[in-house]
């Protein structure tokens, strides 16, 4: 069985974002980058399946972007993927979901993967399209937002998260692509020996320009912070003093609260 996991490197979100000179995406200066959260669940699920099938599946992990994304590929290798593919593209941040999905599909088409895992969305762009578009381009069965996965008798059985805790149960034939929701599993931390082992694993670099030249289907015109409501009170300072002020505000604004 051949498995592909598509992962994205995204910025740590606990920071202040400023527009880049083009004004269409964020400036990367001083940002820290990490593995997209939903993609971490995708890697973990693939590795669990490999373990369940006594190591038989071969897991390729793919990421698109500039040189820095190699670190993210290495993290997935340290979690248990077998080989990495870096689609090198310094312009990846400008590409829309259609262009990214086309790169993935053009890479994967001849490789005959049985199963592809992706996250259901990225934390930075958050369009939630790439996995499904790639599945359509490759003609694969596809289910999105999965929170449970079983593989038995050559079929995938998944639970899709709907709303209010209700789930949809879906069975898919291979080849298939699944997009993973957080909560699908608890991803492992790579151990030090596995981080060392990952350094020796195969890592192939492919130039994005060799995988077709699709134009964008949507265009970002502007990147900006949300309009602030501005009416809120901001409290800052020493804990006991601030707690005192907050208790005062609550007592005034919410009369009849017990415990105040």
């Amino acid at each position: 069985m051949k498995i592909l996991v598509c992962v994205k490197q995204v910025p740590d979100l606990e920071t202040t974002f400023k527009p880049n000179p083009e004004g269409t995406w964020f400036d990367e200066t001083d940002l820290a980058f990490q593995l997209n959260d939903c993609d971490e669940y995708a890697v973990e699920e693939a590795v669990r399946l490999k373990e369940k099938l006594a190591g038989a599946p071969d897991i390729t992990v793919l990421s698109i972007g500039p040189r820095r994304v190699v670190e993210t590929i290495k993290r997935a290798l340290a979690m248990g993927a077998d080989r990495g593919v870096h689609i090198e593209d310094a312009e990846a941040y400008r590409k829309d979901p259609w262009q990214i999905a086309s790169l993935i599909a053009n890479f994967a088409r001849e490789k005959k993967f049985d199963l592809i895992f992706t996250g259901m969305q990225s934390q930075d762009r958050g369009s939630g399209q790439v996995g499904v578009l790639a599945a359509e381009l490759l003609g694969l069965a596809c289910a999105t937002t999965i929170v449970a996965f079983e593989f038995t008798g050559g079929l995938c059985r998944v639970r899709r998260e709907l709303a209010g805790g209700v789930k949809g149960v879906v069975e898919l034939k291979l080849p298939a692509l699944l997009t993973c929701q957080s909560g699908l599993n608890v991803p492992r931390y790579p151990t030090l020996p596995n981080i060392m082992k990952a350094r020796k694993k195969e890592l192939l670099t492919v130039g994005a320009e060799t995988l077709g030249k699709e134009g964008p289907a949507v265009v970002t015109e502007k990147f900006y912070p949300p309009a602030r409501k501005g009416a809120g009170v901001v409290l800052e300072g020493e804990a006991a003093e601030t707690a005192d002020k907050l208790a005062g505000i609550l007592r005034e604004k919410i009369p009849g609260l017990r415990g105040l």
């Binding site: 939630g128 998260e161 957080s182 919410i254």
Partner: protein
Amino acid sequence: MKVLLVGEYREGQLLESCFELEAFADELKAERATLLVGSADACQKLRGKVYFADAADYLEYNPDLHKRLVLEAAARENADHIVFSHSAYGWDLAPRVAAALKAGQVSDIIAVRDGKFEVGCLNGKMRRLVAPATAKAVLTLQPGAFTLKNPGPPEPRIEKLDVEKTASPVNFLGYEPAEKKEVDLTKAAIIVGAGRGIGKQENLAVISALAEALHAEVGASRPVVDAGWLDHSRQVGSTGQVVSPKLYLACGISGATQHLTGMRKSGFIVAINKDKEAPISELADVLVIADLIPFAAALTARLKKP
């Protein structure tokens, strides 16, 4: 401009999101038709031209057949935009339609600005203004972002829609109901919400003590539930419970869109956070910028003082 709205129907019910789609079409001042894979009864609640495909024939979820139905209705209407809710249904189906039409898709739209679409990014911290580069476009709307103001009486003009039924590699087996709830947060007057910012499971004790001092229920954001620190019934958000307490105290919650959807209607919102630019600050009546755990302990102590 013509739009095709793709309504949503689940477990025998028309979903409210259908009216949000209508509101969006009204805002665009577009001529609209709706496709519903549902029941004849459910179509009666809609307005204008309705393409009706029977869920008894096409199931409530069958992405291949639903895609073909959408494409057929869009072709008959020659629709410029095909519009879905950014729900589990739209999430799954919209990109399939976009791929088939080679049309650009704009996901999770929160507003229309000069004919272009505003969407959130970076977990709601920033916005993008996006325009399709293709003649036809697929759009998905953030749940709750558009509200129908003057719906008027339902007056559907229904046209039955059918496509050839072929085998699909995706087989929908049915629904699994939500787990039994440990707590009904919708009835709570005060909720203390715990987020990723609590840092570790042991710190939940500090949050619980604060909740106790306020006679509040403990709620949680998704990462806390996913980590197994609290039961799913305590999850506040579009995939958990949608709550409207008198007071919501968000502790270490950055405010992912799906969480904000679940607590936006709270009477008074206090956010305690290290990051003053976290999206939760947009909704907060009071924003406390502090180290969560020592502050929560100090507030608990203050509340316990006679």
